[in-house]
């Protein structure tokens, strides 16, 4: 599946939604095209990224940074959060505004995700509120290792 890009103009800022796996076929420059001085990148629909995709990502965003473009990552999928944790400079000088946090339902065992603002997570000391399952209303619990999943926010 090739990476699909949807662009939406929001006031002075361009919102870029990246959809699909990021791998060797990704040509960020040609699919994204010209960008203004400020962009928001939604990473909600990136299910995975391979090592060649990581390389392309860093090359693209580091070049944007050098051109003085300000970029903010929002709605980062669990796959992107994992890579932010593994590769310290993958954020490439951008800002991470919000991430998806994984949960597991203790009753029906469903895998669920919840969107959180990074600022709020930091302020709460990474304490998550009590939530219920959207499928069976059972109680849900955070489903990862806190010191690993939130590591990039504590650097």
């Amino acid at each position: 599946m090739l990476l699909n890009v949807i662009k939406e103009q929001r006031n002075n800022t361009l919102l870029i939604r990246l959809i699909g796996a990021i791998d060797e076929d990704v040509q960020f420059e040609s699919v994204v095209g010209l960008v203004p001085q400020e962009i928001i990148v939604s990473c909600r629909e990136i299910p995975r990224i391979n090592s060649i995709g990581v390389k392309a990502w860093m090359k693209y965003f580091q070049a944007l940074r050098q051109k003085g473009v300000k970029f903010t990552f929002i709605e980062c999928s669990t796959a992107i959060v994992e890579q932010f944790n593994l590769i310290s400079n993958l954020i490439s000088g951008g800002t991470v505004e919000s991430i998806y946090v994984p949960f597991s339902c203790t009753k029906c065992k469903s895998e669920l995700i919840g969107l959180f603002k990074c600022e709020d997570l930091k302020k709460s000391g990474f304490t998550l509120p009590s939530l219920t399952c959207s499928k069976c209303s059972g109680p849900v619990v955070f489903d990862d290792i806190p010191e690993e999943y939130f590591r990039f926010l504590q650097r």
């Binding site: 090592s51 590769i87 310290s88 990862d144």
Partner: protein
Amino acid sequence: MKDFVLLISKTPEDRTFVERAAQIAGIPVRVVDSIESAGKVFQAGEIPQAVFLDLPEERSYREFDQLVNAQSRQFQEALLSDRLHFLISQNIDECPYLIAGPYAGNILKRSRALEHGGEHYGRILQGTLSQRGPELLGTEFKNRGGVTREFVLGRTIEKQSAIEKVRDLFVEHGFLGRVAEVIATAADELLMNAMFDAPVDGAGHQIYSKVDRSTDLQLVGRHAVKMVVGFDGAYGAVSVVDSFGSLERTKLLKHVLKLYKDDTYHLGTEVAGAGIGLASVFQLGGSLFFFSEQRKKTEVIAFFKRAETFREYRGHFRFLTMQFR
């Protein structure tokens, strides 16, 4: 070589783990609680089939190194790193001495549930003792009620659809979606390594290392790449085989292990690529078994625990096994 496995550890969980693993492999275990006691076993001229060593700190590693150096050359050659299994609780990046030293063969990272992993590791141990290779996804796997599926790729551009199928298969067989994505990424990295890194010319130089990874190459003859995926209820596995046998221990250590200098990688765009893929598979809970028969074949198998939650999956013990023939 004597028919026993030697465990050097004071920890009861290590004992439970190794005893079960050795039972599966059909070899008796001898347990000693110190490197000094292991020295007495070695002095009696007894060379074990495999040694499991608890490595709580660098001092133990140095002590073991001294012990090995004090033995005859014949002993040292018999007890190659392929036969050593190090048990660690810390992260691999906290053991630079192990990676830099000459013994890095098989590394097991403990978890709270180590004692339950013995059965699985028993089959890995069997694979390390076999001349022919692991054969973990062969008949033995099916005899345990496992399911396997084979993919033969004719061109490099068939990789993406193959890994999408791998992802879907694991979801169908009850793996968490998030784990299935990690497995798909592992399949992706293993395939890329087999397609682009493994092929070498007669002089041993890589043929495609500089070629763009999106290039459409025909995978015929020696360049054919086979992938087998399987699940046996408790574990899922992805195996990729190439016919070059060009994997080298030093390169593997450099790529997969030496990147662990910090708690995270700080990558320059020029070095990103080779190696980080497999390193991140390990970091994200996968275990890796590398088997290379020089100039004949390399098989790399990634294993993933089936679990109800990602937390349980991540908490499972992991291993890196390297076997060179």
